[in-house]
């Protein structure tokens, strides 16, 4: 029945039209396809999901953090009460706060699992050294997120843990006292301290982390995923068959020909 097929074609075209419209004007669809449908080594497995798991944990922190900021008041006189309000009064506030609080630990733990995987697989080696460096910059930023977030509930634990943490920074040689003074926003812990920790926690560090994650992912896409060390295709071993791209030692030469070098 030609009429029915025509209508099917029409429906399909109508459904695809917005995507085509978007693709023609932005190239986004192709970009997303390029990002998502990459070639990976055949023997990559669950170990290779730790990076995505870390990213997911960070996105959870981002989402729950934004919602917590709806209710949180970064002022010494009301910070503690606002956290109690979130926990006890706001619908599902206990859950969101719990996700943010425990998710912080999950994020840090996953980072180190991911780091261990990359280290033990030797995935930091050429040409991925730069990505290791970017990751190594992300680690202290994540730890600083933990440190700055710890003050925000403004209970006794938070307060004294931050006193100790700032004073540990203060004992660093030469510039330590100035660093401690910067973190306190003066010579004493006070309202300025809470305000700047809040700003650092929810603006400065997340921005820096997002930027570096973008760079991290860009390099992953550009360089491809490394094979596990037990792989027959692992970089650095003799291969039975000729490499996919002549002149390239990489298992997954990127489509942009990053590995093409003058011979």
């Amino acid at each position: 029945m030609p009429g029915k097929r025509d209508r099917k074609e029409q429906m399909k075209a109508a459904a695809l039209y917005p995507l085509d419209w978007l693709e023609e004007r932005s190239g986004l669809v192709g970009g997303i396809k390029y990002f998502l449908f990459r070639k990976v080594p055949g023997d990559s497995g669950w170990w290779h999901t730790l990076g995505s798991a870390t990213l997911t944990a960070f996105l959870v922190q981002l989402g729950t953090g934004v919602i917590l900021a709806f209710y949180y008041k970064p002022d010494p006189n009301s910070a503690y009460q606002s956290v109690q309000h979130i926990t006890n009064d706001v619908t599902l506030g206990w859950l969101v706060r719990g996700m943010h609080r425990w998710g912080a630990s999950v994020f840090i733990i996953l980072i180190f699992f991911h780091m261990a995987r990359v280290f033990l697989f030797g995935a930091y080696k050429y040409p991925r050294e730069l990505n290791w460096i970017v990751g190594a910059l992300l680690v202290p930023l994540a730890l600083l997120e933990g440190f700055s977030g710890y003050l925000l509930p403004y209970d006794q634990t938070a307060y004294w843990a931050t006193v100790v943490g700032i004073n540990i920074n203060g004992t660093a040689p030469f510039l330590g006292p100035f660093l401690a003074s910067f973190l306190r926003g003066g010579s004493e812990i006070g309202p300025e301290t809470l305000a700047r920790f809040y700003s650092i926690h929810m603006l400065l560090l997340p921005g820096a982390i997002l930027g570096l994650i973008g760079l991290h992912l860009y390099l992953v896409v550009r360089l491809g995923v490394s094979s596990p060390p037990w792989s027959k295709e692992a970089a650095g071993r003799e291969r039975d068959e000729p490499p996919a791209v002549p002149g390239s030692g990489l298992v997954n030469p990127s489509p942009r020909g990053v590995t093409k070098r003058p011979d």
């Binding site: 006189n77 004294w160 100790v164 004073n167 540990i168 030469f174 970089a235 030692g249």
Partner: protein, 320 residues
């Protein structure tokens, strides 16, 4: 480009043992900083030697390549007279090449102007932002004298746990605690020991090792806010709950991680009332009570040495 490039072979740096020696040297420095200066010096030497050898090893390929004779200037590439401009590898292909005598073409001027103006604008924007964010570090804070009430509230020879507002305008968050003991008179002048409760390790609040007599609590409302006074008997001195630092009744460190004695407040007697002012740091105290000799230093953050060679790590202090 790398010195050697195999067909279809991945680049692998030559195995080198120098980094291991380098790392051992670093560890030696760090341990030496804590344990002994000579060990740190040995570590520094080891680090420098192995670092030098490592760099030499790594850059060996480049240096060897430099020895290869380079074709003399005016070689095959620039040999032909009146050759066309180099291939359009740069974005200026569409523009006519610079005149032979022109040393400063317009495109270069525009590029420089854009970069120069851009950096000037960036600087103008950045300076106030950075200054704004780090200004508090360099600001002097004026502390008014804090009135603690009549000195008759302080019985001679007894410690009184005193809490007060350091900065009444900031409210309860500035509540501080001092352990105050009336030492009687010295040359007809009243003498007080006013210990800060901030631990000299990392700033936790030290507690009296002994009973506090809550029933004898006195509440005073002075012009600088509410003051509470609780007599105490810190027979065992003072102890920090965080990491176990211990002090005697003069604030001298007796055990644990603190690097010096407890800080003290300057005190004043105004019309028969006790007032406290700025804090100062103390390395140690000789003697006790009214005749104590206090080794006084400028106020310093917790965990920072004020005497001994370690003070050299903290040559500058932000104003307080």
């Amino acid at each position: 480009m790398e010195p050697q490039q195999g067909q279809g072979k991945p680049h692998l740096p030559p195995p080198s043992l120098w980094p291991i020696g380098f790392a051992i040297g670093i560890v030696c420095i760090l341990v030496g900083l804590i344990v002994s200066w000579p060990a740190a010096a040995v570590g520094a030497v080891v680090t420098l030697v192995f670092g030098f050898l490592w760099v030499r090893d790594v850059t060996g390929g480049y240096r060897r390549r430099d020895v290869v004779p380079v074709p003399a200037a005016g070689g095959p590439e620039s040999g032909t007279e009146g050759a066309p401009a180099p291939p359009a590898a740069t974005g200026e292909a569409g523009m006519p090449g610079p005149e032979p005598g022109e040393r400063f073409p317009r495109s270069v001027f525009l590029e420089g102007a854009t970069l120069g103006l851009g950096s000037v604008i960036a600087g103008i924007v950045t300076v106030p932002i950075v200054g704004f964010s780090i200004a508090p570090v360099f600001q002097h804070v004026h502390h008014d004298e804090i009135d603690l009430g009549p000195i008759t509230n302080f019985k001679e020879g007894q410690f009184v746990v005193t809490t007060f507002l350091r900065d009444p305008s900031e409210g309860e968050i500035s509540r501080r605690t001092a352990y105050i003991r009336n030492n009687g008179f010295i040359d007809k002048l009243p003498s007080f020991t006013v210990l800060s409760n901030r631990c000299a390790h990392l700033g936790c609040p030290v507690q009296p090792n002994g009973p506090m007599f809550e029933k004898q609590k006195i509440q005073e409302t002075t012009k600088t806010g509410d003051v509470t006074l609780i007599p105490a008997l810190p027979a065992g001195g003072f102890g920090c709950p965080c990491h176990g630092g211990q002090y005697d009744q003069e604030g001298n460190r007796t055990a644990g991680p603190p690097v010096r004695a407890l800080d003290r407040y300057e005190f004043y007697i105004r019309n028969g009332r006790l007032a406290v002012g700025r804090t100062y740091s103390v390395s140690h105290v000789d003697g006790a009570g009214a005749s104590a000799k206090i080794h006084k230093y400028k106020e310093t953050g917790p965990g920072e040495h004020v005497d001994g060679p370690e003070q050299w790590f903290y040559p500058l202090q932000p104003p307080t």
